[in-house]
């Protein structure tokens, strides 16, 4: 009997707290330092400070290379990616683990403000160790491409100093671990798609397998899948090391 009383009283308390959770806050108040990701009245710069900065740094320079630097990234590219993350069309594992949740309720205005905020931050100066030998090799690939793998010079699209251009991302000063991870994602996508070409041609949505599993890094990744596949693991690492040293 005592146990039943306990169950009832704890259930009542838990339900009371759960119903409190439905109350929430008035969206017109206290939005200056809100971490409420479902409030259109919170500005992009508040989110940058209260939410994004935890992983990406207040100035867009992240500490852990799991997370990319966003400082001085092109405004257009940030906006495109946030829309893809919101729409869940960018499918790499890290996007699903972290960013789908953050972006799922952002408004167009908030996305624009966030893109503006991070694009205006000073360019990152990445002082992490880069292997000098790989830097030299990476520079060569960046400027001349890897013709035997069918890879044209990266600088052709991303810029001589990897400064980016509109929808094409800036990569200068990016963490080498992050670049390498993303190149691997592109390559894995390429291999998945090409290993299943016969199946893929019959699919309604070529970005998703028949089991609903994601195949591609995102709508904008198709070109990079080809580029990444044309590089060996070491070459990808070399390019990543080189980019980290750029200012």
């Amino acid at each position: 009997m005592k146990t039943i009383t306990k169950i009832i009283s704890l259930s009542a308390m838990t339900l009371a707290l759960a119903s409190c959770a439905d109350l929430g806050s008035n969206p017109t108040h206290s939005s200056e330092r809100s971490r409420n990701l479902n409030n259109p009245n919170v500005t992009g710069s508040t989110y940058a400070q209260q939410v994004c900065s935890t992983c990406h740094g207040l100035n867009g320079q992240s500490i852990n290379p799991t997370f990319p630097n966003l400082a001085h990234q092109t405004k257009e590219y940030i906006a495109v990616e946030l829309h893809e993350l919101k729409d869940e069309t960018r499918l790499d594992p890290a996007a699903q683990q972290f960013m789908w949740g953050v972006a799922r309720n952002l408004t167009d205005k908030q996305i624009d403000q966030l893109a503006e905020y991070f694009s205006k931050q000073p360019a990152p100066v990445n002082t992490a160790y880069a292997d000098p030998k790989l830097v030299v090799e990476g520079k060569k690939i960046w400027q001349e491409g890897n013709l035997s793998g069918g890879v044209p010079p990266c600088s052709g699209c991303h810029g001589e100093n990897a400064e980016g251009n509109a929808n094409i991302p800036r990569l200068a000063g990016q963490h080498s671990d992050y670049i390498y991870k993303q190149l691997t994602v592109f390559n894995d996508d390429y291999e998945l798609v090409n290993d299943h070409k016969d199946i893929q041609s019959n699919l309604e949505d070529p970005g998703v397998t028949e089991n609903g599993e994601p195949w591609r890094a995102g709508n904008n990744g198709a070109v990079m899948e080809l580029m990444s596949h044309g590089l060996s693991k070491e070459q990808r690492m070399a390019v990543a090391n080189y980019l980290q040293t750029l200012r």
């Binding site: 704890l10 838990t14 929430g24 969206p27 990701l37 479902n38 992983c55 949740g101 671990d177 991870k181």
Partner: protein, 479 residues
């Protein structure tokens, strides 16, 4: 036990667990607990390698800012796209345990024989309440790791006990201005190390799996802990504290904990309190720390302390002994190291807590022999997880202290000294599910590594610390 019999039983338990895995693998990939639903993060965002309870930098931030990040629910009918999410989570643990000494209800106290069993069910709720207020509420029904002070005599039945578990309400804010980055707040909770975000304190170390640890529960006093990491860490107190985390580097915290038997706050000890339970006067809890992150690395160095008094043996009510009080001063150091860069996740923790305890006259000669005792309790652990799927852990836990022939009557010459090693391996086929094997080896109990001379509890005299070892095959599902 014959090895064939062991393997047969292990196979049966494994098949039962796999059945659960297959069933749950078909569920929605985003159908995960309350905080994950609120933030939209996968487990791996806030927990090292996706394995609770160890927190990443993001997980620490989420907790320190009052569990408020994510989608809020509101009463204005706006922005309700995610209101279909459940505000509850359920956590089920089941295991098959094997004891080195299988005397039923004897040496192992109320330990079960080695049956396969569901043993802990928890219900969670909480998260964002307002932009600055959030909660973490858990209550638990447990079978072998009772949070309540139930009788543990040889004939005591194995009752499920229902009680409040780790529960906390936090009020927090985060300001960034020209003078720096300030995260600060206050909490109300029911466990003295509940506020920890570095997983070095008792409440959040990784031996979270509820099972009947015969070293702790079988014979009282063979694995003693300090008041800070043991006594006041059992949901039998209510505490109010405040904290500050400056520039994500310097951390300071101050809290006051005491037993609350009546009034609205006693809901925080619901199901835990009992007439024979320990009682605590005002206890001051404090913590300072230094946190540093670079690249994929993070280190934390901390100091922790508890200064207070109370009736830790629960004798006041039991024997009507007025003024049976002890006072204690617990001080310690702790540290964490983390390396987080997919696919590798590594974490290590260490703590050492030194306790001085002074016993008042009614206690001396009754439940303790000495006017003053000391106890040095240590904990160390290492965790490696690959691809957030395959993991191995190693824990070390034990203590050294003053001999007390009354308090530690089961020990050799009243020695409280003990050491244990707990290796485990696990597999997380899916982020909600963990299946593992964990060993608990006692290498020293009652101050000895070999023949444990027992002169109490009518125990046979030929026991060694190994008699208290446990092997466990477990499965855990959280949804």
């Amino acid at each position: 036990m014959k090895i064939t019999s062991f393997l047969f039983k292990a196979r049966g338990a494994f098949l039962a667990l796999m059945g659960g895995v297959v069933l749950l693998s078909s569920l929605d990939a985003n159908a995960i607990p309350v905080f994950a639903r609120q933030t939209g993060f996968k487990c791996v965002a806030c927990h090292v390698g996706g394995e609770y309870p160890q927190l990443t930098a993001l997980g620490r931030y989420f907790k320190l800012t009052g569990y408020t990040q994510g989608d809020a629910k509101n009463i204005f009918g706006e922005m309700t796209t995610n209101l279909d999410r459940s505000p509850f989570s359920v956590w089920l643990q089941a295991s098959k345990q094997w004891y080195a000494n299988t005397q039923p209800n004897g040496i192992n106290g109320t330990a079960p024989t080695s049956a396969f069993d569901a043993q802990t069910i928890s219900l969670f709720t909480g998260g964002h309440l307002t932009d600055n207020l959030g909660a973490f509420i858990q209550w638990t029904a447990a079978k072998y790791d009772p949070l309540t002070t139930v009788s543990t005599g040889p004939s005591a039945p194995l009752n499920w006990t229902v009680s409040i578990d780790n529960s906390e309400v936090r009020l927090a804010d985060h300001r960034v201005n020209s003078s720096g980055d300030w995260i600060y707040g206050a909490y109300l909770n029911n466990r003295i190390t509940m506020s920890d975000v570095w997983n070095t304190q008792e409440n959040w170390t990784s031996d979270w799996i509820g099972y009947f640890n015969t070293g702790f529960n079988g014979v009282a006093g063979l694995a003693p802990q300090t008041q800070l990491q043991g006594g006041l860490s059992q949901h039998n107190v209510v505490g109010l504290g405040t904290y500050l985390f400056k520039d994500k580097t310097w951390y300071g915290e101050l809290g006051v904990y005491r037993k609350v038997s009546n009034g609205p706050l006693s809901v925080f000890t619901e199901g835990v309190d009992a007439a024979s339970a320990p009682s605590y006067n005002n206890n001051l809890y404090t913590r300072f720390g230094y946190n540093k992150e670079w690249g994929p690395h993070e280190v934390f160095f901390g100091l922790h302390g508890l200064f207070g008094s109370g009736d830790p043996y629960g004798v006041n009510n039991l024997f009507s002994l007025a003024n049976a009080q002890a006072t204690w001063q617990d001080m310690g150091v702790d540290a964490q190291y983390q390396y987080i860069l997919d696919p590798h996740y590594f974490a290590a923790h260490f703590r050492l807590t030194h306790e001085n305890m002074q016993n008042s006259a009614p206690l001396v000669g009754g439940v303790v022999a000495n006017n003053a005792n000391t106890l040095n309790e240590y904990w160390a652990d290492m965790t490696y997880i690959y691809k957030a799927k395959y993991g191995a852990m190693l824990f070390f836990h034990g203590a050294r202290g003053t001999n007390d022939t009354t308090l530690y009557s089961s020990g050799v010459n009243g020695s409280p000294d003990w050491d244990s090693i707990m290796p485990s391996v696990f597999w997380a086929p899916y982020q909600n599910i963990r299946i593992g094997v964990m060993e608990t080896f006692y290498t020293r109990l009652g101050g000895t590594t070999s023949n444990l001379i027992t002169n109490a509890n009518n125990l046979p005299g030929s026991l060694s610390p190994h008699s208290f070892n446990t092997t466990m095959l477990y499965g855990s599902v959280i949804y």
